[in-house]
């Protein structure tokens, strides 16, 4: 959001420089000063912290490491391309010798780079979030529409809501390895474990907010639905869902935030591929560049969390009928 306000500030400034000077300084200058102050304190503070892996990484070290991580990624991609090229050439030769020769195509098994891990984490978090939402929204609607169901489920929700992902993880891991047995699995076990852990933890805000939103539908709209004799399905799709959209989205945004935090922790603990594993691996690696790389990961995790929330906000603005509501 700060980006867009900054941009709009710039264009407004060009139109009317004098009047908008104050506005511009507020929208652009103040956040910039804040950022610079933070970098300065970080640089100074980092120098005075000494760890067994050297000084704590300051902004410069982090920048260097992020460049290194990009280089690593590019090098890995080149290796991969070269690998497949060699493999193709080898296979072509074999075929040239005897057309009946058995050809094996092996996948490249290089170490996943930082960017591969980001991709894995993003896919996992979205899958977990979507699964949780697919369960939580319909369940929330059912619970919200029926006072008896609400009374029955509310204690359970309150009980499971505060449970940490790390407590679920061992159970989920064991259950997945026991139940998810297949010779040709569509998804890796680690993916399923992370996904279920994420879903279990991020289910609750959406469930509760949906239930509260649904049960808070105005009596007048319910009367309208009754006078029109809307069927149950029409009542839910035409009245209940639209009027609880704002609350559902509040829940979804909370859920997505939780999902992202939970995922990193789960990946770290379970050694499932993703950003969490990257952080853990760097920690175990213990080279002089490790702390810098972890710091890069921390910033990227923060940035992605922020972007995910912004995306949800954009969707909310698109879907919500109440355009006058202030969304932030």
């Amino acid at each position: 959001m700060s980006n867009t306000t900054a941009l709009s500030g710039v264009s407004a400034f060009l139109e009317n420089p004098k009047a908008n000077l104050g506005k511009l300084s507020k929208s652009l200058l103040v956040p910039l000063i804040g950022l610079l102050a933070f970098l300065f304190i970080w640089e100074i503070g980092a120098k005075s912290i000494h760890t067994s892996l050297g000084a704590f990484p300051g902004p410069m070290a982090v920048y260097e490491q992020s460049v290194n991580l990009i280089k690593d990624h590019n090098r890995e991609r080149e290796k991969e391309v070269a690998f497949y090229k060699r493999q193709e050439e080898r296979n072509a030769k074999k075929l040239a010798k005897s057309p009946d020769a058995k050809i094996k195509v092996r996948p490249y098994t290089g170490k996943p780079t930082f960017f591969d891990q980001i991709g894995t984490s993003l896919i996992t978090v979205l899958a977990g979030f979507v699964l949780a939402s697919l369960i939580a929204i319909p369940a929330g609607i059912m619970i919200g529409l029926n006072q008896t169901l609400y009374s029955a489920f509310n204690p359970l929700i309150q009980l499971f809501k505060p449970v940490s992902p790390l407590a679920w993880l061992p159970l989920v891991t064991m259950v997945v390895s026991a139940v998810y047995v297949s010779k040709d699995p569509m998804f890796a076990k680690s993916f399923i474990t992370s996904l279920i852990t994420v879903s279990l933890c991020c289910l609750w805000p959406t469930l509760l907010n949906t239930a509260v939103g649904v049960s808070g539908i105005s009596k007048d709209l319910q009367n309208v639905s009754q006078v029109l004799r809307l069927s149950w399905l029409a009542h839910v799709t035409k009245i209940v869902l639209p009027s609880s959209i704002p609350m559902i989205f509040t829940g979804l945004r909370l859920s997505l935030g939780i999902a992202w935090m939970v995922l990193i922790a789960a990946e770290m603990l379970a050694q499932n591929p993703g950003l969490g594993k990257f952080v853990w691996d760097e920690f175990q690696n213990g080279s002089s560049s490790s702390l810098g790389r972890i710091m890069v990961a921390v910033l990227v995790i923060g940035l992605i969390g922020f972007l995910l929330d912004r995306v949800m906000l954009l969707i909310q603005k698109k879907v919500s009928w109440d355009k006058t509501a202030v969304l932030r």
Partner: protein, 293 residues
Amino acid sequence: MTQPPKHLELTKVDIDFPTPTGPFKALKNVNLTINKGEFVSLIGHSGCGKSTVLNIVAGLYQATKGGCLLDGKEVNEPGPERAVVFQNHSLLPWLTAYENVELAVKQVFGKQKSKAEVKEWIEHNLSLVHMDHAMHKRPDEISGGMKQRVGIARALAMEPTVLLMDEPFGALDALTRAHLQDSLMEIQKDLNNTVIMITHDVDEAVLLSDRIVMMTNGPAATVGEILDIDLPRPRDRIALADDPKYNHYRHEVLTFLYEKQRKPDENSTAKTEEKNVAQDLQEDKADSEDQAA
């Protein structure tokens, strides 16, 4: 004159609402017969159960005792043949005026009318209430009076046997209200619906109604008096302002509301006055007896 067939009939209606301290009797022994095409107003102080009567006819509430018959059939659930215009319009805020009416039309006529007919019917009803210019605006983009117009259009579009209006113009300013009252009279003249309207406004009641049903104060409210308004239609508010008959009807209603049925919190003073009146009457009687002797 032959007895007109009973169109809408409330018979010995009692309703109790459960409260933590035991049932609360809101209505007791409400009897009311309404003829087809009649415009009936319910008037009374707040909390006297006007809305409860309307909700029983709408089917949103169930009478504890007695019941409501519409054309010989018992009313026990809501339905589009008893369309309601709610006090605060109750439009779905995420739909445009057109879509709000469309929801009702599709629900009621979705199987009988073709797509083109549905569209035409929606537009016809919106133009009845003079909303054709803003039919694709959402409720938050139009004024309170316009919202109420759309609410009326939605109710009319269901082609109700009985149109129920719960203080339809209560939240509007006086000018808008007058305007909508005129529109309502026009529409009612054309469609000849049976209308039951709740109101607080004495002028509105006299201007619009064929009969005014005055309700006593709750709890255990009931029909106090029924006043027939014998004024020729079409009625013109300006001409009526000087009409002695009109003013007489106003006076009747005002007398009922402010002398016979004071507000509940004024009950204590009302009771002492009643005593005084009773004493006066007794003295009068004594006087006349003296004279006779």
